[in-house]
Assembly symmetry: C2
Amino acid sequence: MTNPVRIIPLGGLGEVGKNMMAIEYGDDIVVIDAGVMFPKQDMLGVDLVLPDTTYLVENAERVRAVLITHGHEDHTGALPYVLRDLHVPVYAPPLARDLVEVKLREHSGVGRYELHEVHPGDSLTFGEITAEYFRVCHSIPDACGIALHTPAGLIVHSGDFKIDHTPVDGHQTDLQRLAALGREGVLLLLSDSTYAEVPGYTPSEQIVGVALDRALAEAPGRVLVATFASLIARVQQVVDAAVKSGRKVAPAGRSMVNNVAMAVAKGYITAPPGTIVTLEELASLPPERQTIVLTGAQGEPLAVLARIANRSSRDIEIQKDDTVVISASTIPGNETLVAHVIDNLTRQGARVLTRRNTPGIHVQGHASQEELKLMLGLIKPKYFVPIHGEYRMLAAHAELAESVGVERDHIFVIEDGDVLEVEDAGGAVVDHVPGGHVYVDGLRLWDVRSAVLRDRRKLSRDGIVVVVVPFDNATGEALGDPEIVTSGFVDAEASGEMLDRARTLVAEALRAPSKPLDEASINGRVRQALAGFFRDETGRRPMIVPLPIEM
Amino acid sequence: MTNPVRIIPLGGLGEVGKNMMAIEYGDDIVVIDAGVMFPKQDMLGVDLVLPDTTYLVENAERVRAVLITHGHEDHTGALPYVLRDLHVPVYAPPLARDLVEVKLREHSGVGRYELHEVHPGDSLTFGEITAEYFRVCHSIPDACGIALHTPAGLIVHSGDFKIDHTPVDGHQTDLQRLAALGREGVLLLLSDSTYAEVPGYTPSEQIVGVALDRALAEAPGRVLVATFASLIARVQQVVDAAVKSGRKVAPAGRSMVNNVAMAVAKGYITAPPGTIVTLEELASLPPERQTIVLTGAQGEPLAVLARIANRSSRDIEIQKDDTVVISASTIPGNETLVAHVIDNLTRQGARVLTRRNTPGIHVQGHASQEELKLMLGLIKPKYFVPIHGEYRMLAAHAELAESVGVERDHIFVIEDGDVLEVEDAGGAVVDHVPGGHVYVDGLRLWDVRSAVLRDRRKLSRDGIVVVVVPFDNATGEALGDPEIVTSGFVDAEASGEMLDRARTLVAEALRAPSKPLDEASINGRVRQALAGFFRDETGRRPMIVPLPIEM
């Protein structure tokens, strides 16, 4: 008699299970990935978004390991935080391990940690769960999926994947092993839904190589290629194209410089000696022999590309005949930032190549619909849970699964914090645990419902008015005139007359005959005197903060 | 001996000349369009963005007219503001005139205005300039371009256009007239660059008709079609599709209800009697006979579609078998809003059809590259200025013009506020006038450089700390302890201990031996005591506002 397995996606910020997933059988919990999300535009001032690990911390004695599928931030970036509360070993494929190590060293306060390298084909046993890594293609080398052998059955987690028959690093998705797992019989497939809305096949990374070769060959001067610092395979393609067109390559941007150094040292990037140089060395060459690979493809205001666009980079200025290649897709929400960067680069005379005007200059790292069907066809799971996607993507993936023969009531579209129990006889969401996210704001962690963020939203729209009312606590009378200070509300100079009237209104309200003043009555009278007045005068509703000062 | 013409784009918020353009010859200025832009995400609390009309107001005695090309908000929405300062007649094609009239009546304070209807083929003479309207296709009926006959030569302004051989209203872009103007000899073409980066041809609106027919025919239950309230031709297509599939149509959303009522009354929308009904009447029909056409296709939080998605609409709830059609493209910057709405609709069980999963469900209203080349080929201008686009689009359009034979140094990529002088012998930017934009914030107009918006940005990231210091002006000593109030900075409860320490730090700083306290020294000491302390404690830099209170 076996127990059901329990599947709990945690903290994907709407992209279910993207950052973290708990899978448990009996007394054993393994955690897959521990990533961060970047804040959305309404998360004012928030620096990072972490998965909520309350459930794991409460069940810490049952958590056996964190299994990392690949080295991207959204799958590894929360480790420095998670490992403070959860002292468990971490397993990761080679490149991911190296990237995680760099990251953990950068954070003080992590304490001792246990970080192991694991290779495709390796199996690790944690109590009644045996985790087997298998190779998939993604936009970073050493990406893996994980098969979890449990007494209840076999669970396959796809990781982030695509099916690329000609990947840059030569390592294809292990279709043989997937087929073998399928033959063995898979209880449940958890599969990447990021591109479940996109018909057809995702093109091979080879396409990008061809497009980059051509861009670098045809460019009359320097070429600046912007991409993600962790997109190591893309950097290799830039290096290859540079070699073909007689160019050298310099990295720019702190994380690009660091990652390229690590990747060259560890052999993830290979190049003829002397190909990869520093920016200073590069500058001594004629422009048509220069290639710079740099960060900032999302328009991030502090990254190199945006600084070049704003003419605020110390090292790099756009010059005649420069070509800028943006070899990345734009993360939803960053479109206006990227457009602004492109405008400013164009204004300075650069020719800017993007996915939009140069097909093939980037391809995504995730499977499109036909590849997702192939995964479903190889695995032939009894039950299916779409993961790694926003709700509409999960719904699209669920439809795909149904179209290739998974029974409709064997498909579970679940959300972060849902506890799904699955066993051979069936499955159901049986519970809900805290599965949302936690904000990193400076040095603090905020709960999502924090009043601080609600206040920031209000301040950002209408500003604040602080009304200081000194009063005599003994007599209950106001002392002198109230003081008003505003920020983000009106131009204090141009609105001096209106603020004088506001002060008068408050003073009158405080003098109105009635009981002696106390804090509560001052608060009430100030708000009552000003809320309607400001709304009528300005059309806005600033936050009004009365501040009675007892003297 | 003639003068040059002067071309001055004004206030497109990066989309040059989109909202307004001044064209002058000698003593005569005509203004083309007077539109608004919607605020970008960093314009915190701003409601609308207007063109800066300083130049026109300063030269008011020379401004002869505002000529509206078509009825969209980004070409007409600033009229209620512009006409307060500029008392000139407005000319507009029939539908635009009707929409403008509705808008001007909604705004008090416009005063008397003079609004004329003009038809394609009409010519209007303003001093030495004669303006001739010609018909173009766009996503609204009665869209026009304008040819300006001046002693310096003929200027052609394309308006917003596409070349659609099968438009919904049956009126094609007047290629004959464009060709005749080209034969006459055109000094300067100003042409729409919105889709200058997009290869090929923009599909005909007919494609949308086919897609809508199919969507409404196949939908098992109700169909909710979200689009722009001013996209009158699209509403007609929805009505046509509804009739074919035995459905009735009800508008929802204030501006949709108003525009449909006006368009039906004026004959812009035609339908068999009884086809267009109210929501209440519609509700009595079986779901498969119901179609709702509604606002909110951009995910606007206050529009009907978002309220349905949030389950906060009083009138409409998603029910089983509902199909939602989003028949619009997403304006850059709104992507995450729209995605969120789609997720929430999908979560409630609706099937959502978008451009992405249903080709043809929307086509853009602007010409793609091949149509832009056709316009250039018919007009054969001596000089060319790309308009209506962000810088990269203008640059792409400039390249297209060069590719079809316009000489490189006859192409002027200019920006808002640039004064371009063109005459037969050549052209050059000779001056720059205030050509940016002005923010509408509640009832006020802000200058772009307003400190209010800078403060809001700071408040939105780090919050505010107000430190009240009562002091005796005679002795220069602080009275009692300082009071600290914060908003948007830290959770005041959880951080009570830190704020107590902050208060102590301020008190100590004020007691430090030295000269008697005055406002300046209090301000300095408070800031010095707290800035580093808060940064170290929280990792954030709140706005610190010392508030000395003389007693």
